[in-house]
Subunit: 197 residues, 2 copies
DNA sequence: CCTACCGATCGGTAGG
DNA sequence: CCTACCGATCGGTAGG
């Protein structure tokens, strides 16, 4: 009877440490200690430290995409999709804080070939958002001036949430999501007798 | 006749490398080489590698604050102040790309006592924004629902700009600033017959 | 998965 | 500011 592998424990320790101290500042000894083994023992599970980063980033990318894809493909109006998408994004951030933070901030520590693979995962996620925005523009629901700049604007607000959100903070996640969705829709809906000063 | 000191060249090299590779991934040998001397020679100018990070971050904090403070203290309407502040922030980002990126992203690499000093510089800058928002709320110009969440929302969009903005990109800085200011004002102005779905 | 260890590289220093 | 170098620590491995 083999006991459960410690791989998940190692990944969790690595995600936690990478998110708090950064990839470069985290040593394999840190990870091993937090996972309950000694540094050499790590290499029964992985080939290199960078593998851990790749696995964490890949898992987070999947989570974000799995949360968003069904919304994009769904039947609702673009406005409703934006609301759902904001909530889905923030739920992933809240549920997997360390992982999502590594995905959003630490992927740059990857070396060339793997960084490009991650870049394309990030692009796919951004394109899902782009599809919602495009649909809203095509239907005339959104009147925002520059659709691709607006996508960057929206995603940068959302991606920053994991830098400050704490489950024990003043506002519960659903309230943050509601406000953010409302504000983002205000941006996307575009001018309605709005004054330019 | 002493020739000009190389300290500025060292700071510039460090800012460039810290912004591109991160503080931890940059070695004193990298910095020395890019500044045109050998690694030991750095220590004629600095005591530790961390000192460079402190100097860069402090200089950037001063730039951001110097750009915003006169706007906050000025006579214009809150709406106009927001437009000016967005433009001022983005001008600092564009003018000092490496420095501002280090200020916004790499300060977390500082060790405890110095990190707290930087945190308070960051807080001061956020409070300047808070003052503009508060003034707009007091005067009834802004009807946004949660002022302090809105401040976070606004600043996180602006702070993300240095992650993607390139001077040679599609949109000139003034165009980005105009769109961002318009969108931020849309958020801050609040609901005007807006529907909640 | 541990013990024991390696070569490389790190930030920093002594002496000039 | 260079030459020459140091102790510490890094990611990773051999052998069991």
């Amino acid at each position: 009877m083999p006991r459960p592998s410690n791989k998940p424990r190692i990944l969790e320790a690595a995600a936690d440490l990478f998110s708090r101290k950064g990839f470069r500042a985290t040593t394999v000894r840190d990870i091993a200690e937090q996972a309950g083994l000694v540094s050499g023992g790590l290499y029964a599970h992985i080939a290199t430290k960078e593998d851990l980063l790749v696995e964490i980033v890949g898992a987070a990318a999947e989570e974000f995409e799995a949360a968003l894809a069904p919304i994009v493909a769904g039947p609702d109006s673009p406005e409703t999709k934006v609301r759902q998408a904001v909530r889905a994004h923030l739920e992933v951030v809240a549920r997997s804080r360390a992982r999502s933070r590594v995905f959003l901030d630490e992927w740059q520590a990857l070396s060339r070939p793997r960084r490009e693979a991650v870049q394309s995962l990030r692009n796919r996620y951004e394109q899902l958002w782009g599809a919602i925005l495009q649909e809203g523009a095509d239907r005339g629901s959104f009147g925002v001036e520059d659709l691709s700049l607006a996508r960057i604007f929206v995603l940068s607000c959302l991606n920053a949430v994991n830098r400050w959100y704490r489950p024990e903070g003043r506002l519960p996640l659903e309230v943050v999501a509601d406000h953010y969705a409302t504000w983002i829709l205000r941006v996307l809906k575009g001018p309605e007798g709005e004054s330019r000063d």
